[in-house]
Structure formats: structure tokens, C-alpha cells
């Protein structure tokens, strides 16, 4: 039977772990608010730029952008957004599973894939799994800076321009609510053309100042950047939510363990007292 000292030690160690997990839970809970707020702030820009892009798609422009071109696909690029830190449950691994299965699906069609990674977790995962990694950014922190993503975006878009990559997928976690996050793999390029507006009814086009090609090139790049930035922000909100949940579970589990161990401790102590008593009684009878 375990002795009381051992059990006490165990309880103390679990208690201190519980303190850490509950502190982390509270930190994550306060960060959720911030990241959700940031998501809200970034939304008008994404909505507006989407609107403009859909207007352009519906205009009878003399210049069609390569991002709308459906060409024969030989290679696809997966842009994977992950978190930098762990301890957030199955958030990252669920996403990676989906990426891998999509990549396998493409491979069956004879399409090779490579990866552009955001976040430390994706980097270490694809290092162990093996995969052609073309770009990597990590340690974006709690407040991701849009500037930090420009390099990665450019690398991927340049690959597309040079014809080395024909499709680009954006993979990240979608924020449903604090309890639910959903891994998503969405096609980024070619852009799905949405020709449903009433704007298509008439033949019209913009006046471009200066050149259509130059302007659309810039605008498209900005659009892709904004989509990626939004995915990063959303993923960071997901990370905090998942972390809060994981830490909450850990704290609860630690509580259960402590309860069980305390019961064991009391049993052991009682047994020791009973034994001592019977020894004394036995000793007295012998005298």
C-alpha cells in the first residue's frame, strides 16, 4: 500500500499543475476578446475589397487577370495557417489531417503539391511528414502584422505567375464560435468567378487610370493578401478559443485526479491509524 507521504507529494504536484492550467485558461479567455475584436475590425476591408473584386469580375473588362484563368493543373500549392504555440487541443492536427487528405486526393489525379506555411506548428509537422515547403513564416505573435505576410504571399503568387503552380489552396481554421472551430481548405486561385450580379446585364467597363493590367495586378495581390491576413487573424482567434477549452478540460481533469488522490490519502491514513491502534491494544493485552 502506498504511504501517506507519497500520496501527499503527488497531490501537491497535481495542484501546482492545475494552477498553471487554470491561469492559462484565463489568459486565453482574455485574449479571445482581443482577437475577436481584431477580426471584427478587419472585416469591413475584406468585405469592401471583395465587393470591388466582384464588380470587376462582372465588368466587361478588356483585360482578364491570370488569377481567373483555369489552366491545366500539374501542381498545387497549399497555404497552411497554423498556430505558433501548442496546448490548444486538436486544432492544428485536425487541419493538417485535412490538408494531407486533400493533397492525397490531388495526387491521385496526378497533381503534385507543395506547401507554404504560416506558424511554427505547421513547420514542425511538415518537417516530420516530409513535403516540399516553398515558404515559411513563423512567430507572428498575438497581433499578426500584415507586413509579415507580404513575403510569403509574394513567393506563392510568383510561383503562380511563373507557371510553377497552377492552383493555390488556403487552409486554416474557421471560427464558428468559442466552442467550435472548423478546419477549412479553400481554393484561392483560380478565383471562383461570381457572375450573378445585376451588373452583368449591361455591357460596361471601368475607366482605368493608369493601365488596367497594372491596376488589376495590384488590386488582385491586395485581395489575396487580405484573404490570407484574414485567415491568420481568424486562426489566431481559433487558437485562443481552443486553448481555453483545452485548458479548461485540463483543469477539470486535475480536479478529478486530486479528489481521487485525496480519497486514497484518507484511506491510507485511516489504515495506518487503525493498525497503530490494534498494535497498541495487542501490546497492552500481552503485558
Amino acid at each position: 500500500m502506498a504511504n501517506t507521504k507519497e500520496v501527499r507529494k503527488q497531490i501537491a504536484s497535481i495542484k501546482s499543475t492545475q494552477k498553471i492550467t487554470s491561469a492559462m485558461e484565463m489568459v486565453a479567455a482574455s485574449k479571445i476578446k482581443k482577437t475577436q475584436n481584431e477580426m471584427q475590425l478587419g472585416r469591413p476591408y475584406s468585405e469592401k475589397i471583395k465587393e470591388v473584386i466582384s464588380h470587376i469580375a462582372n465588368s466587361s473588362s478588356e483585360y482578364s487577370h491570370p488569377f481567373y484563368e483555369h489552366r491545366e493543373t500539374k501542381k498545387a500549392c497549399f497555404l497552411v495557417v497554423s498556430s505558433d504555440k501548442g496546448l490548444c487541443g486538436g486544432l492544428n492536427i485536425n487541419l493538417f489531417k485535412q490538408v494531407i487528405s486533400k493533397s492525397a486526393e490531388l495526387k491521385a489525379q496526378g497533381i503534385e503539391s507543395n506547401f507554404a506555411l504560416i506558424g511554427l506548428k505547421a513547420a514542425s509537422f511538415f518537417k516530420s511528414v516530409g513535403g516540399d515547403v516553398v515558404a515559411n513564416v513563423q512567430k507572428l505573435g498575438d497581433k499578426p502584422d500584415p507586413d509579415a505576410l507580404i513575403g510569403l504571399t509574394k513567393t506563392v503568387l510568383d510561383l503562380h505567375r511563373n507557371g510553377e503552380v497552377d492552383q493555390v489552396y488556403l487552409c486554416g481554421n474557421g471560427f464558428v464560435n468559442t466552442m467550435t472551430q472548423e478546419p477549412k481548405v479553400e481554393q484561392l486561385i483560380p478565383l471562383p468567378a461570381e457572375k450573378t450580379d445585376e451588373l452583368t446585364a449591361t455591357h460596361w467597363d471601368y475607366i482605368y487610370e493608369p493601365e488596367a493590367q497594372e491596376l488589376l495586378e495590384g488590386l488582385m495581390t491586395r485581395y489575396i493578401e487580405s484573404l490570407i491576413y484574414h485567415a491568420v487573424i481568424e486562426n489566431s482567434a481559433c487558437e485562443q478559443a481552443a486553448k481555453m477549452l483545452a485548458m479548461k478540460n485540463a483543469t477539470e481533469n486535475a480536479g478529478d485526479l486530486i479528489k481521487e488522490l485525496e480519497l486514497l490519502y484518507n484511506n491510507v491514513r485511516q489504515a495506518a491509524i487503525t493498525q497503530e491502534l490494534s498494535e497498541i491494544v495487542g501490546g497492552a493485552a500481552a503485558v
Binding site: G42, K48, E51, V52, S59, I207, E209, G218, L219
Partner: protein, 137 residues
């Protein structure tokens, strides 16, 4: 009086959304004035002040580079980073300009000259916006 729907957004926040009878901004090819019913136009947005008139009321915003989309009934400013002109600190802007100028003349440092030039243009535009605001007061 007819109005046009104006929205000014930056990647980090919504700056302004409302109606205007006339809008002035600096496009990449020069100053433009936008009245309701303007023909569809797509152009670059140069760093500088954007003025929104609604009757007698006039508001000024500072926009750094980006894009302007104009439809007959709406105008959208997609700014990389926009901020309220009133809240800008002129000293800060001048400091930024000096820093940019210093960077440009500093041959020793390994610096991206195009970036420095862009910084300089932006700082100059900021000062212009502030000075314009002062004059109006």
C-alpha cells in the same frame, strides 16, 4: 441634392462610411473630384487627404496608398492604412519624414531606396493634410 455613398476602409479598420455630395481625393494620376453619378473608374490612391463634403459639412481623412473604386452611386477607398486626420501628430509626421530622409541619404546602410522614397512621400502627404486642416480652422 443627390448624394453618393462613401466608404473609406483600411486593412485594420473602417474609417468612414456615409453619404457625401462631393468627394475630393488624390488619385495616382492627380487630384480628382467625385460627384454623384460619376462614370465607373478604377484608379490608384496616392497618400494624402481625402475630403468628403456633405452639404456644408466637410470631413477630412488621411489615407496612405491604396485604390479607389467609383461606381455611379458609390465610391470605395481601399487604403492600406488610413487614419483620422484630426488625430495625427504633426511632430510625429515630421520625425518620420526626417527619418526617411536620413535613411535615403545614408549611403552606408543597406536600405531599400524605393521603400525610403515611399516613406518620404507618405510623411510629406501627412504634413500636407495637417496643414490644410489648420488653414481651414
Amino acid at each position: 441634392m443627390s448624394t453618393i455613398k462613401v466608404s473609406i476602409v483600411s486593412s485594420s479598420e473602417e474609417i468612414y462610411s456615409g453619404e457625401g455630395t462631393m468627394v475630393f481625393a488624390t488619385g495616382s494620376l492627380g487630384e480628382i473630384g467625385i460627384a454623384p453619378g460619376h462614370t465607373p473608374l478604377l484608379t490608384g490612391l496616392a497618400p494624402g487627404p481625402v475630403r468628403v463634403q456633405n452639404g456644408d459639412d466637410e470631413k477630412t481623412f488621411f489615407c496612405s496608398g491604396g485604390f479607389i473604386e467609383i461606381q455611379p452611386d458609390l465610391v470605395t477607398f481601399l487604403s492600406d492604412r488610413a487614419e483620422r486626420a484630426e488625430s495625427m501628430d504633426e511632430a510625429e509626421a515630421i520625425k518620420a519624414q526626417e527619418q526617411a530622409e536620413k535613411n535615403m541619404h545614408d549611403k552606408e546602410s543597406e536600405l531599400d531606396y524605393t521603400k525610403a522614397a515611399a516613406q518620404l512621400a507618405e510623411a510629406a502627404a501627412r504634413i500636407k493634410t495637417i496643414q490644410k486642416l489648420r488653414k481651414n480652422k
